[in-house]
């Protein structure tokens, strides 16, 4: 499903044909007939907008028409109309992502040096409106067009010729920038996001070579030339605070590197900001592969940043799915280099509480692994971890996290069915179904909401439609505990299904292991049945809470 062409409704007060022609290879677009008819489209319940079967809606508002606004009232009236239209849209569409643009108001510039410029107030009024929606509504996001325009500059972004000839206010550069930004915001909704950035140290997190230049000789400071590395580190830190985890992959003597990481006064990233450190003389691709299995993150979730083209080529050759961006030749571009990586590959629609704790969670996981290496068997290990699990019916406040897991879990996912929020709500609303969630925690910390089970049909014919688990907690019998409780609730009878994908091999034998009997197998698509299941006791668990 992630590979099929998504259907996008594009609503705008300008002609968007040229924009669509730049994006139509990747997406199928619907736009209302006629010029500036988007408001009518929104308020007409039988409009194509609502019957197109869209996957997302983009509202792109241009402020060029403000040059024609004859009075402040006209401008305010226009904004008021647009607010009403967007509110109606958001009222009508509660499930699909809606991206609403900010507006660069191009008020007439013939003004004295003391006259009031309304574009600041209007621009801010609109921003506050859209920001408010994004905070209150789970499916509204900001498409910050005004920011894109500021970054490029109006002179370069707009073209009078294009406006007069085609009702398109954008220049060639402007069109490309808007297309890029639309592509990026849609990418946040529909393309998988990277999870980890593995970073080189020398000439990447600081300038120079620590082993040769020493802690006082490397370039790194909070001002002047050394600030380009300081700023790059801050970009990494900002990403880390939004759920991307960081790692080090560097050829160095451990003591030299550690001295700088812990002791340099201008280091923003310290030991505790990394989930893994490979500081050695090993081949970097081997280090990365070790990280993949250590952290349980697939190669496709990795970004590797290194200034050395030879290292990059080696890694590209050995790890073909890893993203290895070209390092900027001019290191004053490091800051924007990091921004582009964020926008293109990392920026999520929203940052949830679970995301902010990612680094901590991976670090706890490392401690658990350590514990495991000194334990003799799995039950003993689980007992040492002091595992606690809380399984209950999904609550309203948990829907967002459940939808997130449904759409991004690949490995421990028996059917890999993807549902949007509305579908999850519809399933939950039917009293014949049940959605269970599980929280796990242990002595090293809380893992949060890590598993979802969707059961369709009650009583004697309950079918497990979805069974997924965050890969962080795999291998701790959590799945056994969950089925144990749920099966007991359903009188020991359940039907399971396994649909093979490129990524869910880890759960291929799951149902066999849990005591289900395979009753059908068509090209690997298997149906299982559990009959007369007897509830077991899991003594290795410190606490099991189940609320049916």
């Amino acid at each position: 499903m992630p590979d099929s062409k998504k259907k996008i409704v594009l609503l705008s007060n300008i002609t968007v044909g040229l924009l669509i022609s730049k994006l139509c290879r990747k997406y199928d677009f619907y736009q209302p007939e006629g010029y500036d008819t988007w408001v009518q489209e929104v308020i007409n319940p039988s409009a194509g907008l609502y019957s197109f079967g869209a996957d997302a809606v983009v509202v792109l508002l241009d402020g060029t028409e403000a040059r024609n606004w004859k009075s402040v009232e006209e401008g305010s009236g226009r904004l008021g109309l647009w607010k009403q239209a967007v509110s109606t849209l958001v009222f009508n569409i509660t499930t699909l992502p809606i991206f609403v643009s900010t507006i660069d108001i191009r008020e007439n510039r013939i003004k004295s040096l003391s006259e009031r410029k309304h574009r600041y107030e209007w621009g801010n009024e609109w921003y506050q409106f859209v920001q408010g929606l994004a905070e209150r509504k789970g499916n509204v996001y900001i498409f910050d067009l005004a920011d894109t325009i500021s970054e490029i500059g109006r002179k370069q972004f707009y073209s009078n010729k294009m406006w007069y000839m085609g009702s398109v206010p954008y220049s060639r550069d402007g069109l490309n920038a808007v297309a890029t930004e639309i592509n990026r915001v849609l990418g946040s909704a529909f393309s998988s996001r990277k999870k980890i950035i593995a970073l080189d140290l020398d000439d990447t997190l600081w300038g120079g070579i620590i082993g040769e230049d020493g802690i006082d000789g490397i370039e790194l400071s909070d001002h002047k030339e050394g600030q380009r590395y300081y700023d790059f580190q801050r970009q990494m830190l900002e990403m880390k605070n939004r759920g991307i985890v960081l790692a080090i992959n560097s050829k160095n003597n451990l003591e030299d590197a550690e001295a700088a990481i812990q002791g340099h006064p201008a280091m923003l990233l310290r030991d505790e900001d990394f989930v893994s450190r490979k500081i050695n003389w090993e081949n970097k691709a081997i280090n990365l592969k070790a990280m993949e299995s250590e952290l349980n993150i697939t190669e496709g979730g990795f970004i590797f940043i290194d200034d050395n083209p030879v290292q990059r080529e080696t890694v590209k050759g050995e790890c073909p799915e890893m993203l290895v961006p070209d390092f900027p030749e001019d290191t004053t571009e490091l800051l924007t280099f990091a921004e582009d990586i964020w926008f293109d590959y990392c920026r999520p629609l929203r940052v949830l509480g679970e995301d902010r704790k990612k680094t901590q969670m991976y670090q706890n996981e490392a401690k658990r692994k350590q514990e495991m290496s000194v334990s003799f068997n799995l039950d003993e290990y689980i007992a040492k971890l002091e595992m606690a699990v809380d399984i209950h019916r999904m609550r309203e406040s948990e829907i967002e996290r459940v939808v997130q897991l449904i759409n991004k879990t690949n490995q421990f996912n028996v059917t890999t069915k993807r549902y949007i929020r509305a579908e999850v709500e519809a399933i939950a609303a039917n009293p014949n179904n049940a959605i269970y969630v599980a929280y796990s925690s242990d002595k090293y910390g809380d893992s949060g909401l890590v598993s979802v089970v969707i059961l369709i049909g009650d009583g004697s014919d309950a079918r497990i439609d979805t069974f997924l688990m965050s890969c962080r907690v795999m291998g701790r019998k959590l799945e056994d505990v969950m089925i144990n409780e749920i099966a007991a609730k359903y009188g020991g009878k359940l039907t399971g299904e396994f649909i093979p994908t490129a990524k869910n091999a880890p759960v291929k034998e799951l149902y066999d292991r849990l005591g289900f009997e395979m009753v059908a197998d068509e090209d690997g698509h298997r149906i299982y049945e559990l009959k007369e299941y007897q509830k077991k006791a899991f003594e290795s668990y410190k606490e099991i809470k189940f609320e049916g």
């Binding site: 022609s21 085609g166 060639r172």
Partner: protein
């Protein structure tokens, strides 16, 4: 020079280069395409074509004259 121009136009219009001639006026030859061509040709040739001159453009040959 002319061939390079025609190849460039063919690429913009997503038409087979072989069928592209100075008198081409089929398919997607509409006002939107005209605008796209002007925009891309201005960037490619580093020129600015005044709107006044575009009113008389009937064929690719006319456009070719304008960019040179």
């Amino acid at each position: 020079m002319e061939q390079k121009f025609l190849d460039f136009v063919a690429e913009i219009m997503e038409v087979d280069e072989v069928s592209m001639t100075m008198s081409y006026n089929e398919g997607k030859w509409d006002s939107l395409m005209m605008l796209t061509l002007v925009m891309e040709l201005e960037a490619e040739y580093g020129v600015s074509i005044p709107m006044e001159n575009l009113g008389n453009v009937k064929t690719l040959a006319d456009l070719y004259k304008l960019v040179n």
